[in-house]
């Protein structure tokens, strides 16, 4: 083979590095003169259904129930008698492959046009089934099965199912031309520890299959035909990482108690149904923070009730039976859509009562099957709760359901100053450590200096301690810290020391957060926290934590 030594830059959206032969997931199917008829089409659908069933069984055997369900839906679609009949009929003509493709597309389009987001997403599953059927027809001899050996997946665009179906198989890394850190594929990749680089030059699609490909998501690089030294380095690092993740995941299902037997709560921050699924697979109890604004970052007006329903329905359906805290739209700081002008935030939301009503109605109605709580972001004064509570109560009456608890996200200095009064008008409080830290230390959230470990600054810690005390004094339920501090090695022991017993963290951090919490001693953390309050800065506190707390990680 000719040398294709190439190096491309991209965005590493899921950390890690791996090297293996490439395999293009979406190689265009030649439309040429393939001789097929209805019998071959029927056979191809049956084979694809059997393939997907096998994948689903394998994924289920690995304990990934939710992922298995996603793949199993694909198998049922491939076995759908209407779809198969329509494709068989189409295959009777001169150009069977394009005709079959069109037949599949017409089914996908029907789902595309439904006013339900969860069902619209199934359209992508129909297309994926169609792609597999066409590949099977176009490449006689069993279609294009993924390599049995280790491989790096390459595609123009990746869906979550593209990754899930190869989990536990030979998939060690992935590269995509389109997509970014918030795509579902990126979320899946982070949660399962699969290195993924996106935004790579389309040239990468032209590589022949089985080209040696190195994916270094930490460096944001993709290298074709890397040097032996690069390969060796990457393989050592990636083997170590796989083992580390396996040991962290092995503690799923163990009791959520600290080293001294204090129970703790472990929740996930989520913004999509895929994240909910992955979070529950990872052993989170539920969600301590559902972000509702991310889907509306390009909105040109306040989202309507129907808009909110579309976004929330699949997510809340996935979380059925679990505790879920839904946060109202948090259009502030780095998250301001074009129709608002900075600083936006809670005052602007409250100045638009119909926007509050629209969202609250969607949440209350769709949240019947979950342990629902509604959280108000960026609260700066106790009187901001009354209008939200009124909207929640009105929605509860109109849907004939009990009114869910309404609480405040404490993430401003102003809220901490009035924390005692605030605790009198809420049913619960949560702490947003990221914004609180930025404000206390006067950093912009997007400032690269706004690092998680700065929440260890004594000024931030003392505010957190004050909020915990006030919540306890007011008889509120145990508060949850929603922010990166809940999963950071330096800040997690300090939070425990401040009396925090519940954290909500990124889906990818659930396993390691549980590992740490199960090894921390609350009494020891309490002493650490008291000592830290007397220190001069975040750096000194970090040194103290290093010295006093030892949690051996795998």
């Amino acid at each position: 083979m000719t040398s294709v030594a190439h190096r491309w830059a991209g965005q590493g959206v899921a950390p890690g590095a791996a090297v293996a032969g490439s395999w293009r997931a979406d190689r265009p199917v030649p439309a040429g003169a393939v001789h097929i008829g209805p019998a071959e089409v029927e056979e191809a659908f049956a084979a694809v259904a059997a393939d997907l069933d096998r994948v689903a069984d394998r994924v289920r055997a690995q304990g990934r129930e939710a992922a298995a369900d996603i793949v199993a839906v694909g198998a049922l679609i491939a076995a759908d008698p209407d779809l198969v009949d329509s494709a068989k009929q189409a295959a009777g003509g001169d150009q069977p492959l394009p005709a079959v493709r069109e037949a599949v597309e017409s089914y996908a389009t029907v789902l595309d046009l439904l006013p339900d987001d969860a069902l619209r997403q199934r359209a992508a599953d129909v297309r994926q089934v169609g792609r597999r059927v066409l590949e099977r027809l176009a490449y006689p001899g069993g279609g294009r099965d993924a390599p049995a050996d280790r491989f790096v997946l390459v595609a123009a665009e990746l869906g979550p199912a593209d990754l899930i179906e190869h989990l536990g198989g030979g998939l060690v890394g992935a590269v995509a031309v389109r997509g970014g850190a918030n795509s579902h594929a990126a979320i899946v990749a982070r949660s399962v520890g699969l290195p993924l680089v996106m935004g790579v030059d389309p040239e990468v699609l032209d590589l022949p299959d089985a080209t040696d490909l190195l994916v270094d998501a930490d460096a944001g690089a993709v290298v074709a035909e890397p040097s032996p030294a690069e390969v060796a380095r990457t393989e050592v690092a990636s083997a170590r990482e796989v083992e580390r993740r396996g040991r962290l995941a092995a503690e799923r299902g163990l009791p959520h108690v600290t080293a001294d037997d204090q129970p703790f709560g472990l929740y996930a921050n989520v913004s999509s149904d895929v994240e909910v699924r992955l979070a529950l697979d990872s052993g989170a109890i539920g969600s301590g923070l559902v972000r509702t604004e991310l889907q509306f970052m390009e909105a040109d007006r306040w989202p309507s009730e129907a808009d909110h329903r579309r976004v929330l329905a699949p997510l809340l359906a996935e979380a059925a039976g679990r505790p879920v805290t839904v946060r109202l739209l948090d259009f502030a700081n780095d998250k301001i859509p074009p129709f608002l002008t900075p600083p936006a935030g809670l005052p602007v939301l409250l100045a638009n009562p119909s926007a509050v009503t629209a969202q609250v109605r969607a949440i209350v109605d769709l949240g019947r099957d979950v342990g629902l709580r509604i959280m108000v972001p960026m609260v700066s004064s106790p009187d901001q709760l009354a209008p939200v509570r009124a909207a929640v109560e009105a929605a509860a009456v109109s849907f004939g359901v009990p009114a869910p608890p309404v609480g405040a996200m404490v993430e401003t200095i102003a809220a901490v100053r009035e924390i005692e009064a605030l605790c009198q008008v809420v049913d619960f409080v949560s702490i947003g450590s990221n914004d609180l830290t930025s404000e206390v230390l006067d950093l912009n959230r997007v400032d690269p200096r706004a690092r998680t470990e700065l929440a260890a600054h004594p000024r931030v810690l003392s505010l957190i301690g004050r909020v915990v005390e006030a919540a306890v004094a007011a008889g509120l339920p145990p508060l949850t810290v929603c922010g990166d501090a809940g999963s950071h090695p330096t800040t997690l022991p300090l939070l425990l020391g401040a009396g925090v017993r519940s954290v909500s963290v990124a889906v990818a951090r659930i396993d390691e957060t549980r590992w740490r919490l199960r090894r921390l001693d609350t009494e020891q953390c309490r002493a650490l926290f008291t000592h830290a309050l007397r220190l001069g800065g975040a750096g000194e506190v970090a040194e103290l934590v290093d010295e006093r707390i030892e949690v051996t990680m795998p």
Partner: protein, 95 residues
Amino acid sequence: MPQSSEDSDALAERVVVLPKALHARPAGQLARLAGRHKETTIQLVAGEKKANARGVLAVMAMGAVAGTEVTVTVTGPDADAVADEAAGILTAAEG
């Protein structure tokens, strides 16, 4: 499959109100149920939309949301038991 002549003419009907939207999971469970009872036909009707439960796409394409009234008509062997099971899938709170 054991089959008696009076059974194969059996007909059973159930009317249910969906507690939640008819998404992929219940649609898949219905398709599997239909697959286990090949001699039996399970027909769903919601308003003007109809679907044979053996087709997961047709069932999803009904786009039935929470609160929709769905009539399940089952004909063939074990009609009563199959109708109960189908109604159970449609009214399950979880899944």
